[in-house]
């Protein structure tokens, strides 16, 4: 159970089927959050780094310098839009647009919360608070995140500047190298959840026990989430890969100011320059959100007891995303930049084989545990072997065997198959 199903909204409000509106509510919430927090992110980063370096940081504009990023944005809008000579004008203008579109579009399938509804027959079901509740949610984010490199490469190429070109090339090689380890680390969690839908992955963590025979109050707690459930290595690999994927320190080789001036955006001025920053920060939010959803339990509270369950799930999700942002800042303040060959060696020679081997360690562990759990009743080979025994709910369960109660889908326990409840009911 999720634990915070204290209230449930009626599914049908007159002629309006409310769950159909949920994606648009999610769109407004998420875009509102992103656009509000974007200047805040820059402020957070500057203040946190200033604290870590024992200096003041921005403190002139507004209280504690809070309005500094807003002032920067206004200033950038009124700066001259310099068009350097010999640039490829069309691509030069399209590149930042691509970067921003893809950055904002990538966060579409992040699940912010699960909203409980109750339909006319009194059955409860939850609808994930997300823009696109599609069954390839995770693939969609990965696809959009890897498409973002186009903005960078095109900017580097169109600028007709050697620093820009080198920055763009570095970014492309780096992003595609770390995408492999990123995808494989996510696969470890997918293997345990059995779904690419981010809502299902979070639900899988909600119904999981941290270890067989654990007390019931630990079900779906912080110990049951996939950061520990997949054995720590995937979350470490993913965290490294997500920093490299967004070209942030210590992997900010594409814009290494000591060797490439500003890298791919050397020739960009005014708001076009800020657009690359916007896309970078939104991408940071997105990959942190993916981290939160896949490895850190999404909207789930860390423990299913009273003070935690009172906080709404969407706030938990945002807290987890912001912790990812804090980690980014911490890394930037702490670690020196990698050399490029060390960067490539880390991605290809260490992380890729480790992630691939770990995936099979997890699959083998699943196999071994299942054998121990169901050693006695072997199915008849004719009937059992061919037909995949896909459970009708497709709902999640713990890797250590299926939880006894929720494996049986019924109207009393709607959580594992909750997303199918409106479909089987017949949506109007």
């Amino acid at each position: 159970m999720i634990g915070q199903l204290a209230i449930a909204f009626p599914a049908n409000l007159g002629p309006i089927y409310l769950p159909a509106l949920v994606p648009y509510i999610a769109l407004v919430i998420w875009l509102g959050f992103v656009l509000t927090i974007l200047p805040g992110l820059i402020w957070i980063e500057r203040v946190v780094i200033a604290l870590m370096q024992d200096r003041s940081g921005p403190n002139r504009v507004g209280p504690r310098g809070l309005l500094q990023p807003t002032a920067d944005v206004i200033k950038l809008f009124f700066k001259e839009d310099v068009l350097p000579e010999n640039v490829d004008v069309r691509i030069y203008y399209i590149a930042p647009v691509i970067a921003v579109i893809l950055a904002f579009a990538a966060c579409g399938t992040l699940v912010l919360d699960a909203i409980p509804f109750v339909d006319a027959e009194g059955r409860q079901f939850t609808v994930p608070l997300t823009v696109g509740d599609v069954n390839i949610g995770l693939l969609y984010i990965l696809a959009m995140a890897s498409l973002q490199v186009y903005g960078i490469v095109l900017a580097g190429w169109a600028s007709n500047n050697k620093y820009s070109l080198l920055g763009g090339l570095r970014a492309s090689a780096q992003v595609i190298s770390y995408e492999l380890a990123m995808g494989l680390a996510l696969l470890c969690a997918i293997l345990m959840a059995g779904s690419l839908r981010l809502g299902d992955i979070v639900e899988a963590q909600a119904t999981r026990l941290p270890f067989p025979g654990a007390p019931e109050f630990l079900r779906g707690s912080i110990l049951a989430w996939f950061w520990l459930g997949t054995g720590l290595i995937p979350v470490v690999l993913y965290t490294i890969a997500m920093v490299a994927e967004t070209n942030r320190a210590p992997f900010d080789l594409p814009e290494a100011e000591s060797e490439l001036i500003a890298g791919f955006h050397t020739e960009y001025s005014s708001m076009k320059f800020a657009m690359f920053f916007t896309s970078e920060y939104v991408a940071m939010l997105t990959v942190s959100g993916l981290n939160a959803a896949v490895f850190w339990g999404g909207w789930l509270p860390p423990l299913n007891v009273a003070p935690f369950t009172l906080i709404p799930g969407v706030l938990w999700f945002i807290i987890k995303v912001m912790m990812g942002i804090f980690l980014y800042t911490w890394l930037r303040a702490t670690l020196p930049r990698l050399r490029y060959d060390a960067l490539m060696a880390l991605g290809w020679k260490r992380m890729l084989p480790l992630a691939l081997v770990w995936l099979f360690v997890l699959a083998g562990a699943n196999l071994a545990l299942e054998r121990r759990a169901s050693s006695a009743p072997l199915p008849t080979p004719e009937a059992g072997a061919i037909v995949p025994r896909m459970r009708s709910t497709g709902g999640p369960a713990s890797i250590t065997g299926q939880p006894p109660a929720s494996a049986e889908p019924g109207p009393q326990t709607p959580v594992p198959g909750s997303m199918e409840a409106p479909a089987s009911n017949g949506a109007p």
Binding site: P23, L31, L76, F77, F78, E80, D81, V82, P84, P96, V97, V100, I101, A105, V131, G132, V134, N135, L139, N160, L165, L169, A173, I176, S177, L180, G183, L184, I190, L191, M192, G194, L196, R197, D200, I261, E267, S270, M271, M275, R339, D341, M344, A345, W348, L352, F360, A363, N366, L367, S374, L378, A385, P388, R389, M390, G394, E420, A423, A427
Partner: protein, 189 residues
């Protein structure tokens, strides 16, 4: 897993999101284009090379290593894509079928690892050329005097050492940079 065709409707809000983000992006570009002043000068329009006059064009050849990485990426990315449906359906299988799933993918990845070790052996993943030079010529000076692991500026040289400048090279500042460079490079040949 609702594999019904109603799922296609779930993409509509995503299209709306893409539309909204397009609007945001265009507003940013057009806004700064309209609001900012336009005072172009010849120096402002030159490509930025640290205040120096740009030398040549940026449309030049770049290291082939980037192509190599892109090709290797395609191989491994396709492999990852094969793993996705496998990982999604793995849990839901019965025990017998799961053994089959596991063994089958293990064989696939084992074959892939053969290729991985091949490219490792060919040093296709070594970004640093000096490592490849060592591989080509095992009795190269790099083997005799091993390269220190991490230091700046030693990509091509062996151990970091500062050679005394030969006598015929004029001292720094005595002549122009071009003459000094000419003297230094003539020594090398």
């Amino acid at each position: 897993m609702s594999g019904n065709h109603g799922d296609i409707l779930a993409y509509v809000p995503l299209l709306v999101l893409i539309g909204v983000s397009t609007a945001i992006a265009l507003a940013m570009v057009v806004g700064s284009f309209l609001l900012g002043p336009k005072k172009p000068t010849a120096y402002k329009a030159t490509a930025y090379e640290c205040g120096m006059t740009p030398i040549g064009s940026a449309r030049e050849r770049f290291p082939v290593k980037f192509y190599l990485i892109a090709m290797l990426f395609i191989v491994f990315d396709i492999e990852t894509i094969f793993l996705y449906p496998w990982a999604v359906t793995y849990r839901a299988q019965g025990y017998d079928l799961k053994i089959f799933y596991f063994a089958e993918m293990l064989v696939f990845v084992a074959i892939l690892f053969v290729g991985y070790f091949y490219i490792l052996g060919r040093r296709a993943l070594d970004w640093d050329e000096s490592e490849r030079a060592v591989a080509r010529d095992p009795i190269s000076p790099e083997i005799l005097a091993p390269r220190p692991p991490i230091r700046f500026g030693n990509e091509k040289s062996g151990p970091v050492r500062r050679l005394p400048e030969p006598a015929h090279v004029p001292a720094y500042g005595a002549v122009s940079q071009e003459e000094r460079i000419a003297a230094l490079t003539s020594r090398r040949e």
